[in-house]
């Protein structure tokens, strides 16, 4: 397959939140029977019908790159991981609803991935603190997914869901909360499935249909002056 057709979506999150189970569920519509640690990166492919149900329907293959590891890894591991962050078209941030730390680490994950990106938004980040504004202008669509929903007790559910709603707002992203061992959360027609479909549509749009056009209106020139240079390794 020519790399021209590539639509690449990163799946990021702490160890053990359920990224591999999620990717397996998204791509093969089956629950992953024996999850084990991901070393390096594992890829899977999802067949997605862009603009399903309309005359412009077209099938795309979305690559889901599930990068293993933790934010606190040694810098040598981080430099190695950076290889996978090139030419990314979308990011899915996965966190564990039962583990607050994993939600807090999402900002560090997004910073790590976006810093390596080739899209010239001129994002300048110091010390890994994330600046809310950068996500407002961010060109790459984000999606926040919370896993292990079944392990949250009924009484605590409301509090947890409010917290994650704020989190998703910070990222300027949609959010989905589910349990990776239960396919019914992503059943066709459910609101989760609709959100997922919209996200993938947005990714494909940004990749193929807005590229030829002019730059997005309202591009902040001020950030461009501040923008630093990054190492961009072209592997296309």
């Amino acid at each position: 397959m020519a790399s021209l057709d590539r639509v690449k979506v990163l799946v990021l999150g702490d160890s053990g939140v359920g990224k591999s189970s999620l990717v397996h569920l998204l791509c093969q519509n089956q629950v992953l029977g024996n999850p084990s640690w991901t070393v390096g990166c594992s890829v899977d492919v999802r067949v997605h019908d862009y603009k399903e149900g309309t005359p412009e329907e077209k099938t795309f293959y979305i690559e889901l790159w599930d990068v293993g590891g933790s934010v606190g890894s040694a810098s040598s591991v981080k430099s190695t991981r950076a290889v996978f962050y090139n030419s990314v078209n979308g990011i899915i941030l996965v966190h564990d609803l039962t583990n607050k730390k994993s939600s807090q680490n999402l900002s560090r994950w997004s910073v790590e991935a976006l810093n390596r990106d080739m899209v010239p938004t001129g994002v300048l980040v110091t010390n890994g603190d994330y600046d809310r504004e950068q996500f407002a202008d961010n060109q790459i669509p984000l999606l926040v997914i919370g896993t292990k929903l079944d392990q949250i007790h009924e009484t605590k559910r409301h509090e947890v869901l409010t917290r994650t709603a704020f989190l998703a707002e910070d990222f300027n992203a949609e959010e989905i909360n589910l349990d990776c061992t239960n396919p019914r959360y992503l059943a066709a027609g459910s609101s989760n499935a609709v959100k997922l479909s919209r996200f993938f549509d947005k990714v494909i749009e940004k990749r193929y249909f807005l590229r030829d056009g002019n730059q997005m209106p309202g591009f902040p020139d001020r950030k461009r002056f501040l923008g630093g240079t990054f190492k961009s390794l072209h592997y296309d």
Binding site: V39, V43, V45, S76, V83, L233, Y235
Partner: protein, 388 residues
Amino acid sequence: MSSRYFHWKMNLCIILIILVFLVPFYIGYFIVSNIWLLHKQQLLFSCLLWLTFMYFFWKLGEPFPILSPKHGILSIEQLISRVGVIGVTLMALLSGFGAVNCPYTYMSYFLRNVTDTDIMALERRLLQTMDMIVSKKKRMAVARRTMFLKGEVHNKPSGFWEMIKSVTTSASGSENLMQIQQEVDSLEELSRQLFLETADLHATKERIEYSKTFKGKYFNFLGYFFSIYCVWKIFMATINIVFDRVGKTDPVTRGIEITVNYLGIQFDVKFWSQHISFILVGIIIVTSIRGLLITLTKFFYAISSSKSSNVIVLLLAQIMGMYFVSSVLLIRMSMPLEYRTIITEVLGELQFNFYHRWFDVIFLVSALSSMLFLYLAHKQAPEKHMAP
């Protein structure tokens, strides 16, 4: 004087009870709770596990000449001697490995030369492998989709007759899938290896850069110093075994005696030896336990997972306890003669000489085998990266 003795004894009893009774039982309990088959009778099976442990623990004492027959069966000496054997073995293994690994890690002489081109070449290979995996998975996704649309169900041929049937029928879709899946599996394994190698190269490059800084140079110098010490230790262990002798005086007193004799400086040997050896013993204990904890923590992070972390923490606690008891045993050799009686009093009459000999043997074995291991690893690594 007697209260100190009492506290020594009491602490020792408590540690032994924890090491021999509590922690192994707890470990057994957690292991059993991980195996979901035995959920119903957790307590029963963990008791069984503990009894097995006790049996092997007791058997451990038999091949070693550690006890004189006048001790009772449940005395402290019995337990300590066995715990001591395990702990001393462990200490010697770790010391042997540490004695060889420490200079290897610190000294920049051993650092392989890694250039940016090496790293980029490896990264390119990694990405190429990932691309191959992606294209194969796309084919699989297409095949699955067409099968789904055609109404075929993806059946793995299970059972003898179904396998025979699948040879003749046109289940070509699923056969094809299985073949591609196998190719994908091997490619994924390759990608994992490449990833680990790349991370290794990045780490080596960072170490090279670090060694050019001041801090790096300082550690490099320490490394040379330390390696001399390690070589001396190995040498002494060999001499001890070959000439079958056990040191009578501790190194500090001997060192002071030598300086007094050679340099003619007036030293109150007794006074100074007591204080210096006390400080030195303290430093040795602190650094060795600290070193052990750091190594174990790294090891723990590398192998822990949500299921096994409990067991691993308890295992580490067990190891630490045994390490501590046996370091008390061994430290006796570093103390001046008159203080050795304190330890003999508390620990009872054990064959201390045996422990020292055992330590030396295991230390030597461990040091030699880790030298061999590191040599092989060092030789093998550059050849891997030279390959086109």
